[in-house]
Amino acid sequence: MNQHTMALQVTDITKQFVKSEGFRWPWKRNGKKSGGNGRKTVVAVDRVSFEVHKGEVFGILGPNGSGKSTLVRCISTLLLPDAGTILVFGHDVTKDEIAVKQMVNRVSVEASFFKKLTPMENLMYGARLYGLTAKETRERTLEILQRLGLKKESIFQPMEEMSRGMQQKVAIARAFLTQPILLLLDEPTTGLDPRSKREVQAFVEELRDKHDATILLTTHDMQEADGLCDRIAILDDGKVVALDTPANLKAMVSQNGHEPTLEDVFMELTGKQLVKEDEQVQ
């Protein structure tokens, strides 16, 4: 498969962080009593590889701290990987940053905005950074936000007066406004009420079906992943422990008297490892 049909190629990506273990005086950092230099290395993403085809909805599941958001940040040029390569439609995220940024946008779990500004002012700011004119931004903003179920008058009220669900819809509008060909959705429905969640999920389906967008979705909602994703990678401790279609993943686990769900897959693949670690500790 050539680069034109491959939206994302992640090859052997590794990212680790150095964490402080609390304050120590410099002259005590290497002493025997301190037991080291007061710092430890945490491997957040460990030699992860996968490919996402153009027009595909690719899910990443994993427990908290499994490296999902770190991976998304590496793809969106916010973190530099320690090793490996990431290509977005053939462009390397570290060498061809601006080209990648033009193709990608992201929605994260926190809908981060200038809270005193209105959705329109926030989106105008974001859209201008991507070269859009005021006129096209206004038209598109009204269209997308109303499609997402936001009333016209709320578009001109400060963000701080909006519910979390409404803010998250504005965050989705901000990402979609720039018409990215690769959309990174990092837990976009976490903390939303069932109605808002459904509206966001329906919008993602519409993006996939009508706008030919490639979507990378991380979520803790197994039903959401099952319904939206063409393929799913399960991440645990920074490593890919499984990667397949939802149906094939479900076929991997034992039935236990009922039709296996993605939750069963998740528990079996990530839970087993926890047991192994506990055993090692003992």
């Binding site: 962080f17 973190l79 974001g126 201008r128």
Partner: protein, 274 residues
């Protein structure tokens, strides 16, 4: 669409956003303006009171203007410096920093936008303060070279933009206390640049350091222009030095910022914190 139009639009995004924020935080703007006016008046009244304090006969009008130039120039340069250096701290506080850094624009465009806003905002602020202070004192500007003074201010802005860009690295590298750390740079510049006194009264070892500060040349040039009515030709020496320092400071600032951004992306410091 050409790249230049695209970059111009992106730069304007920062100007528009910042003016929108000024509108929304109008209460803070009123408080800040009242503080700045009170501060300028307090310092200028030291000049008015010098005769009463020392019991000596002195040229009070000259003294008032000397201190007024100091307080206005310092206010303007501080506003420019603060606005440029705060661009990271503010975005970190609002949580928008990752979205701005994900946008397909060069850091130069980002800085130009923030800088344009800070120059316009600084000039507006300083003009309002000057207008209010003028009501309290009988200022004799009949001999002043106002155009020369304005040229000094604009030339001095270049260096302060460069210094502001360097200072904005601190909140990038130190998410929790970086913004406060930038005040150290301002305090040192205030001490060595002869804002309220001639640098000749500083200890001898400090005077060569004062000659490195761009604020020293802005203040000396402004005082020559406004107090002594020095011609624009006479001010060329100051202007030349300020332009040279400014033209060096901005690329150095951008280079330092680029390195800091790379470090932040390597260590994960861009992530929202604080």
């Amino acid at each position: 669409m050409t790249q230049i139009v695209r970059e111009f639009r992106a730069s304007y995004a920062f100007v528009e956003r910042n003016f929108n924020l000024v509108k929304r935080y109008w209460g803070w703007e009123v408080v800040w303006m009242a503080y700045s006016i009170a501060n300028a008046l307090s310092i200028t009244y030291i000049g008015a009171g010098t005769e009463a304090i020392t019991g000596q006969v002195i040229d009070t009008g000259y003294m008032i203007l000397y201190l007024l130039v100091g307080t206005l120039v310092w206010h303007y340069l501080s506003v420019v410096f603060d606005n440029v250096s705060e661009m990271i701290a503010w975005e970190r506080w609002e949580g928008t920093i990752e979205y701005t850094f994900m946008a397909p624009i060069s850091r130069f465009t980002h800085m130009i936008g923030q800088t344009l806003f800070s120059l316009v905002y600084g000039l507006l602020h300083t003009t309002i303060i000057l207008t209010v202070v003028a009501f309290f004192f009988k200022l004799d500007l009949s001999e002043a070279n106002l155009l020369g003074g304005l040229m000094m201010l604009i030339a001095g802005s270049l260096s302060f933009i460069g210094l502001g860009i360097v200072a904005s690295v601190l909140p990038l590298l130190f998410p929790e206390r970086g913004a406060q750390m930038t005040h150290v740079i301002q305090a040192l510049l205030l001490l060595i640049s002869g804002v309220y006194f001639p640098i000749s009264v500083l200890p001898e070892w400090m005077q060569p350091i004062a000659r490195v500060s761009p604020a020293t040349y802005v203040l000396e040039g402004m005082r020559d222009a406004l107090l002594d009515g020095a011609s624009s030709g006479t001010l060329l020496g100051y202007l030349g030095r300020l332009v040279i320092i400014g033209l060096a400071a901005i690329p150095i600032g951008l280079l330092v910022f680029r390195q800091a951004e790379r470090y932040a992306k390597r260590t994960g410091k861009l992530k929202r914190c604080g």
